[in-house]
């Protein structure tokens, strides 16, 4: 077996998968990847199940070293610089880290989370069918906590399969779509208008439990305490001070603040990738539109394996040579992935 060592890793990085379902009635939140599309894209590049466990890498720089053999991985999600032993590698491709080499990831640019899927998956002890880390409950495997430098994963030796890339549709840059409710009747029409007419920013104090929003105070009609009821990913609750909090993957399963609206499931990953400090808006859509988008998103997830392509286009290699010369960096002319990186790097994040 090979070993992948997190030689350096910032906060907010952990093993995540499709989540732990079926125990919310016992207070156990699902957790799971903040951006499921990116998780699935990374997984299918190395032939894993779409929602298998991978390393969710937070916004900070990180480095992974292969030991005891080569390790094949794939990277998707937030755009960021990446290289293996100095050779640039591209987002949305698979890559092989040979023994002793290090994959270095820069800071996320225009996103928050990247997913590093490992060929053959991550070995661990599932609970409720999931390895996802839920730090508050002390759950997750192989490490029931966010990753720390030195953490090591025992993984399958690299298969030597040809590297692949995946083409994902560009994400809409539009507002984050929400469905009103469940407690929108706790707010006046003016308060709701203010919510939708305002620009919002995600506070730097946000985490996997909730994204705190900075913007105008949203006032309640009467009481800011309701009798606790159930929450979902994307519930937008408004506590007494009027600063909304969007509940994320590690949310409490119940909450006692009125929820003005809920982020539609198709936009949840895109919302999760919104960097702190970037201005955005919310837009209300009908239930019919939200459910049609949910179905389209499910279809997109299912289509991912068909979107995987081999990296062996001769034209691309020529481009790579040109790109390398223009960029003036030391890249391999026969490595199409390298060319891909220089263009992907500057593109907006999904």
């Amino acid at each position: 077996m090979s070993t992948l060592v997190a030689a350096s890793i910032g906060p907010a990085s952990s093993v995540q998968d499709g989540g732990r379902h079926g125990a919310q009635r016992y207070g156990l939140t699902p957790s799971g990847a903040m951006d499921r599309l990116a998780l699935a894209a990374a997984n299918c590049l190395v032939g894993n199940e779409l929602l298998a466990a991978a390393i969710e890498v937070g916004p900070f720089a990180a480095a992974f070293t292969a030991r005891d053999g080569a390790v094949r991985v794939a990277l998707s999600g937030a755009s960021r610089g990446a290289d293996i032993a100095g050779r640039s590698v591209a987002l949305d491709t698979s890559m092989t880290i040979t023994e002793g080499e290090t994959l270095t990831l820069g800071f996320a640019k225009g996103g928050a989370f990247s997913y590093l899927a490992i060929e053959g998956g991550i070995a661990g002890e599932p609970m409720f069918g999931s390895l996802a880390v839920n730090a508050r409950a002390g759950l997750g495997s192989p490490y029931p906590r966010p990753l720390q430098p030195g953490d090591a994963f025992t993984v399958k030796p690299a298969s030597g399969a040809p590297e692949r890339r995946i083409e994902l549709p560009a994400a809409s840059p539009g507002p984050i779509r929400v469905v009103l409710g469940p407690q929108d009747d706790e707010f006046s029409d003016d308060a709701k208008a203010l919510f939708f007419d305002s620009e919002w920013k995600i506070s730097a104090t946000s985490d996997r439990m909730g994204y705190r929003l900075e913007g105008p105070a949203i006032k309640h009609l009467e009481n800011h305490n309701i009798v606790s009821d159930g929450t979902v990913d994307g519930s937008i609750q408004v506590p007494g001070i009027g600063a909304p909090i969007v509940l994320m993957a590690d949310r409490g399963t119940s909450g006692g603040y009125p929820k003005i609206a809920t982020v539609i499931s198709a936009d949840f990953g895109r919302f999760a990738q919104t960097p702190a400090g970037t201005a955005f808006r919310f837009k209300a859509v009908t239930m019919a539109e939200a459910q049609s988008e949910a179905k389209a998103f499910a279809k997109l997830l299912r289509s991912l394996p068909d979107r995987v392509k081999a990296i062996e286009n001769f034209d691309l290699n020529i481009e790579a040579l040109h790109g390398a010369n223009v960029a003036g960096s030391a890249v391999s002319a026969v490595d199409a992935a390298t060319w891909h990186a220089t263009s992907v790097d500057t593109s907006v994040q999904r």
Binding site: R136, A137, S265, A294
Partner: protein, 243 residues
């Protein structure tokens, strides 16, 4: 034939969940209807429904919009919720040991003072109660119990504590509860139980179900320490009384 019950409100919780609301308040009758609907969905699963989360006053129904849409599922839920409740499945009854006061229940004396009585009277009233698990939420295994003696109803702490011990048994508002993990709480801490309502490597992982009946009995601090050790090793400790 009994008349249909008044319909609950259907509140959208995004595109993949419906909140079926029976009341806006903590209301025992509403909680019974929540649990009855939860039971009905468990007994006759509705295609597309993936998970249900009972709370005091509402049932959150998670579903896959690829299999069933809001309107279709909503109609089914309304119809199910209006059906007179079938005789409740025999609820399980648990006896749960608690060591009251001292370092294990740091608010007991203060609660007694505020209610102009003695700590012993508070304990006597708390162990006399017949409680039902109204909901489990917030953190794994945190069980909210209805049926608290009116005499013990009191507002929550103005300043919630950031860390309260695992196993704490407390009162807050009109409720009493058992928390499994250490964590923040704004309730008044009466004691601790060695019982783990949640323990990962035990079968069952979760001890209590919404709808279960619970009574408490007092144990001394020494017994608590012994039972706490046994519970850590995986013993259930709580006594299940045959239904």
């Amino acid at each position: 034939m009994a008349a249909p019950l008044p319909p609950p409100r259907l509140l959208p919780s995004g595109d993949s969940a419906i909140t079926v609301e029976f009341s806006r308040h903590i209301d025992d009758a509403a909680n019974q209807r929540v649990l009855a609907l939860d039971r009905a969905l468990a007994e006759a699963p509705v295609p597309g429904v993936s998970e249900t989360v009972p709370t005091y006053r509402s049932l959150l129904v998670h579903y896959d919009p690829g299999q069933v849409d809001f309107a279709t599922l909503g109609e089914k839920l309304i119809a199910l919720a209006q059906r007179p409740a079938s005789a409740a499945a025999k609820a399980r009854r648990w006896r749960v040991p608690v060591t009251y006061g001292g370092e294990n229940g740091i608010d007991l004396e203060d609660v007694a003072r505020r209610l102009n009585t003695t700590p012993d009277d508070i304990v006597a009233r708390h162990v006399a109660g017949h409680y039902r698990v109204a909901m489990i939420g917030f953190t794994p295994g945190w069980s909210y119990l209805s049926g608290l003696d009116k005499f013990l109803h009191m507002p929550r702490q103005e300043n919630p504590r950031l860390l309260t011990p695992a196993g704490t048994v407390s009162i807050g508002g009109v409720q009493t509860g058992v928390q499994c993990l250490a964590g923040p709480s704004g309730w008044h801490l009466l004691g601790r139980t060695p019982v783990r309502t949640y323990q990962m490597h035990r079968d069952p992982i979760f001890l209590l179900e919404p709808g279960d009946h619970v009574t408490f009995f007092a144990i001394d601090a020494k017994t608590f320490t012994e039972q706490d050790r046994a519970a850590e090793a995986g013993e259930i400790i709580a006594e299940l009384i045959a239904a």
